[in-house]
Symmetry: C2
Subunit: 339 residues, 2 copies
């Protein structure tokens, strides 16, 4: 007969609750107690039974975080923040890379793994709003997608943020402004929103947008930004005097191409990105950017999920949407060297 | 009575094996078949029973990857590669951030979650070799740690790679070479190995190492590199003419401090890092670095684990250790602008 929780408690000389705390990974267990319980678990070959735990209402203590790709510093940094935000609750966060593929996101939200995870934080890149959440796994969505969506949602106002970036360039007296990162397909909602914000700010200043200065990309990485900048420079006689790049890696790639072509940043071309990743603080020139408050995104995501899991909010409460603020970080790539 | 696999198969009009392939996330299932099975799963509320699946020897199709931190681009990029390498096997990879804490690594290797994962790829930062692998969960270790360790192991020869970085600086005629990233505690094995390689290369050229030019750090990020470089410059009359930084982020931080202090890289100070992260290809100056073959690390890690899981290698086969090659990428931060 397999060992039960109370066998472990009895052997370790602690309460069942203490064993449960260790098994669930809660942090407030003294190291020596944890070691004693672990020794008893090892000796008895005890394996926690997730189904039994769920029936007792304890949950697995494990949530999943699904992001399109960890190679993107924004998602890698956000993942780290969510792990930290979940720690005081004693949650383990398992991170999954979806590559933005609809079928992987579908597998997650369909609840196929609901025996091993309690809830899901998902940054969708492939699924349509209508497809999300048929499986009943408590889920919080991240990103600009799915306002009025089917689940709790923490988002940034991408259009407003993009307009802020563009207005920063306009205030510096730049008029011939390019945008790198336009969508290459209609489902790229994040980029569509940022492009709308760019256009709105330009229109607000009475400026027409030269269509040759709006450059679509198929990826959001440094290499995509470097290639897009090269394409842009090849197809216009006169370079733009400023560029709004829809992610920081795109901006860092574009700046690299400027250096290779002998263009001074920001003397010839001012460049601003969008993400607020750490890399931009240390690059040369340091990168002006729009920084969503990622610490707060992480905290809200965990808190909203905890309310659903802990019953603090009933399942009947309709999906909540929280918009997190962003900041303009003006640095050397638009302002020049600060001495 | 809960729905069973064969109920799903019958409703979808497919074989039990096909349902099993969908549930296990195998990739070679036609999209329309997958959709049919998914519809049947949804309609019947079928939940796969992991215990039953394990009893049938099928495993969960899920492995865990544990890395110290995703904020580190090296680990974020490596995680992405491991997810890709696992894909042809139909595995789902769940990623966990341990923050290098021994207790989190212990929880993982102790097999407490063996009901929901089949195996583990672990980059240990907190545990001692003697502590690893009491739980019997098939595990592959990554990193420089634990040669002759208790499990299969994919590693880089950190000392040899550090010596290569140092010799590159020596070949450029630099003699007054600093090292940023020395260990601040004896358990920091990776850094201890890199420091040993640095010292060996210096000694091999008959050069003494000025102890003030060996700078310990408590973290390996850009901010740590920037602060270490500032400390270094403050405590010597004459700056070093070259620096070997033990990670790329340390190097990028150090280069930023050089820019702030009016030092030209590489004119005044040549800088080389260690990681081969994408960021260094696009930085200005682009970053010379030691690049472990991370694609091969990812492939070996998955292959070794697959052999243990699939029974291709019996449990009686002692731990195997594979050393993956590295390359010196000489770029602008040591060679200057290439035109």
């Amino acid at each position: 007969m397999p060992a039960r929780l109370k066998d472990v408690a009895s052997r370790a000389g602690v309460s069942i609750k203490t064993v449960s705390n260790v098994v669930n990974g809660y942090v407030h267990v003294a190291p020596e107690t944890r070691a004693k319980v672990q020794a008893a678990i090892d000796a008895l070959g005890y394996v926690p039974n997730p189904t039994a735990r769920r029936l007792r209402g304890g949950g697995t203590g494990v949530i999943a975080l699904a992001v399109p790709e960890l190679r993107s510093p924004y998602f890698a940094e956000l993942a780290g923040l969510i792990v930290r935000a979940a720690e005081p609750r004693g949650w383990t966060v398992l991170i999954e890379q979806t590559d933005g593929r609809a079928e992987r996101e579908r597998d997650l939200v369909s609840g196929l793994r609901r025996h091993s995870i309690d809830g899901l934080i998902l940054s969708p890149a492939g699924l349509d709003a209508t497809e999300v959440l048929t499986g009943g796994l408590p889920t919080v969505l991240l990103g600009e997608r799915m306002w009025d969506g089917p689940a709790d949602h923490v988002a940034v106002d991408g259009a407003a943020a993009a307009a802020d970036a563009t207005r920063h360039l306009l205030r510096l007296g730049r008029w011939r402004i390019a945008a790198i990162g336009a969508p290459d397909r209609p489902t790229a909602v994040t980029r569509t929103q940022r492009l709308a914000g760019f256009r709105a700010a330009m229109a607000g200043s009475g400026l027409a947008v030269d269509p040759r200065l709006v450059v679509p990309v198929s990826g959001m990485h440094r290499a995509d930004g470097a290639a897009a900048m090269a394409r842009l420079l090849d197809q216009v006689e006169q370079p733009p005097d400023a560029i709004f790049c829809f992610t920081d890696p795109l901006a860092l790639g574009a700046i690299r191409t400027c250096a290779d072509r002998g263009l001074d940043v920001p003397g010839d071309v001012a460049v601003i990105g969008f993400d607020g990743i750490e890399e931009g603080r240390y690059s040369t020139p340091s990168l002006s950017t729009i920084a969503p408050n990622t610490g707060r995104i992480a905290q809200f995501a965990v808190d909203l999920l905890a309310e659903r899991l802990g019953g603090g909010v009933s399942a009947a409460v309709p999906p909540r949407a929280i918009c997190v603020e962003h900041r303009l970080l003006a640095r050397e790539s638009t302002l020049g060297r600060l001495r």
